[in-house]
Amino acid sequence: MTKHNGSKPEVQERIGVYVCHCGTNIAGTVDVAQVAQWAASRLKERGVVIARDYKFMCSSLGQELIEKDIKEQKLTRVVVAACSPHLHERTFRTACARAGLNPFLCEMVSIREQVSWVHTNKEAATIKAQAAVSGGVERVIHHEPLEPMTVPINPATLVVGGGIAGIQAALEIADAGYHVYMVEREPSIGGHMAQFDKTFPTLDCAACILTPKMVDVGGHPNVTLLTWSEVEKVEGYVGSFNVTIRNKARHVKTDLCTGCGICQEKCPKKVVDEVYEAGLGYRKAIYTPFPQAVPKFPVMDVDNCIYFEKGTCKACEKFCPTNAIDFTQQDEVINIEVGNIILATGYDIFDARRVSHYGYGRLANVFTSLEMERLTNAAGPTNGQIVLRDGKTTPKAVGIIHCVGSRDRNFNNHCSVICCMQSLKFAHMVHERTGAIVYNFYIDMRTPFKDYDEFYQRVLEEGTLFVRGKVAEVTDAARLPGEEGKLIVQVEDTLAGKQRRIPVDMVILSVGLEPRKDSSETAKLFGISCSANGWFIEKHPKLDPVATMTEGIYIAGCAQGPKDIPASVSQGAAAAARVLGKIQQKEMALEPIRASVIEEKCSGCRICNDLCPFNAISFHEDTMVSEVNAALCQGCGTCVAACPAGAIYGTGFNNEQVLAQIEGLLLLNIGEEAVPA
């Protein structure tokens, strides 16, 4: 070993190294005591004056250990080898700050997620942990004290999506006295919940509990409701986002419209309502999706309006008592300033046509669960009558198939959470309203939350039949007597251990929840990440399920993953609480990871100018040098790497730090310095 052989300038720093056991999470695979001893002896000439290992470094005792050493040993740098910095960097930086050391003089190296949890060979894992510590030590030598940038927090908040999660979030913030902009793509807020009839397990009516909240949002003095609108552009950063919203033309003047509904009555054009009625009912070309819509103003569907098609009609305009119809209205583009954003953009339902062997779209009496919601809804197309596609026949036997498009490697691996309970709800309602025999075809019954299993027991007692097995096919090809004119459900009953053919009149497919088709575009628009299948990724799956990796952007409801109404409401309220906390702080500290130009070195070549996607770099014609605007700079460091003159300095990730870390990491090679037994 000749790498640190005195050719380097002597290190002036006094470095403390702290190696965490994390119980057995790290200590089970890495010889942590050995790592600490090695650092104390081998890295002594690199400035390490003390190296300790401790059971849980993040505990208050572990933190006190570091604080005590900083004071007593006069440490000038700290390296903590523990879990991912995404988890505990702040913890240890704060501990350093308490002891009077600038928090940015602390460096964390990950020896849990990136060493002990992914390796099995203890010897090799220990060497890798030592290398990681060495890299951290070399890097931290080049750290410099930094002061975080503080930015003011605009107290206004944007909530995207007016479903139950978004509504809850908006009301929490508005009730606390801060302004909320709510943007909804559809003509009314309410989301999927507004389509439902009953909610499990209590069977209270969805509209009865949802519409008062919708009205609260619509009339709240602190809420600006922007329906029939979409976010087009998001600029800025936490505390001061500048959001561009397109308010699509309703062709109705909202200041004049009273919501009387005469236009809808008089409009001669009927259109199949694919959104709210799930294709089962009709609306007009000028419409509000449902009577309790908030806001009450209708929108004109210009693709179907006879006037826009043929240039004549204008029945709505003729009959409107307040002259609110405006055929010339244009989209309006609005700019708003907000400090935080909550995304509650919801879900799409799985397209049942994709499971072709279940016959949806081919066999008339195969329904989706969303269609069933409309069928059972007293305000739906059949006034709550559960009937076959012909609109009059009451089914005598009904089959409900669970997990359609969920827990199926051909479509989605995830469990959609709500389908078991939704299917049980349908079983109860079909039983109650028609007296039909109900079969539930399930893979596993999942009823985990409050009062859910009790509901399952109740449905069992009502006489619903349960067949455990994945349905192979739904067909109308009769083979046996009694199957003529029926839908036959072919299923392997895994409890009875035999194949069964069960004739029914109606099949309900409990379709799964999927991310919105445009969720990756939405994620990109707001600068957050999506998982491979399209759900928004939270900052931490357990400890921070409402924040994202982008400061100031929070997520709630099914956009984050499938969940039922209580969970959506909880998450909406949780996101609101997080935002309110931020607003209360009035300003917040940002990581000072920013680029800056060293003017004396800048040759004025302007290579960096076009590299910045945030337009943070400008060129001064008079002095012929470029300058980075620290408020706009996001700290990616691309310009730092690109500057041919090395004239751009990347605070927090500068060349010296990274190059030193590379050298430190390569101090040890596998097998080179065997760990003494």
Binding site: A641, V658, G671
Partner: protein, 167 residues
């Protein structure tokens, strides 16, 4: 470790938002890959100065894995495209030096792709293992002597003549 097996050392560059989190996820999911890679966190793959790669290779690394967000998913909008450009530049330059360009690999891994990160890492380690030690900057298999400058012949030496990493 025995003397007759070559264990490559690889430096991996990760971005703070996607690939570092993919590496974290591989850990959280307890996926396993060989311990031959050591990771450095950058804020963005666009921060990757080609110097970092040459520094790693000349300081004893046998390979370098550059990782970042998928194209179109960069936290900084489009900076991973700059990493892509530099990746090709680095490979060309290495070829000019007489170093196998395959010693540098580019992997896109989103924060959800822990499994991809683990499998790509494992396969890259095997690729480098089959390429053999680089020994850039080492004379006769000894330790790097960066002060003396690198001898191009040591880089160009065929694998068969290369001494194995001492035990």
């Amino acid at each position: 470790m025995t003397t007759d097996t070559f264990e490559p050392t690889i430096i991996g560059f990760t971005c703070n938002w996607c690939s570092y989190r993919a590496a974290d996820l591989a850990g959280t999911a307890r996926l396993k890959y060989p311990p031959n890679i050591r990771l450095i966190r950058l804020m963005c793959s666009g921060r990757l100065d080609p110097t970092f790669v040459f520094k790693a290779l000349s300081s004893g690394a046998d390979g370098v894995m550059i990782t970042g967000c998928h194209p179109g998913e960069c936290h900084y909008l489009e900076q991973n495209y700059k990493a892509l450009r530099r990746f090709h530049l680095i490979r060309r330059t290495l070829k000019g030096f007489g170093v196998e360009p395959e010693r540098v690999k580019l992997v896109w891994a989103s924060a959800a792709e822990g499994a991809k990160f683990a499998s790509e890492t494992a396969s890259f380690i095997e690729e480098i293992r089959s390429l053999g030690p680089l020994n850039w900057g080492k004379s006769g298999g000894g330790r790097p002597t960066t002060e003396d400058g690198d001898s191009p012949s040591s880089v160009l030496r065929p694998q068969s003549e290369t001494e194995e990493v001492p035990a």
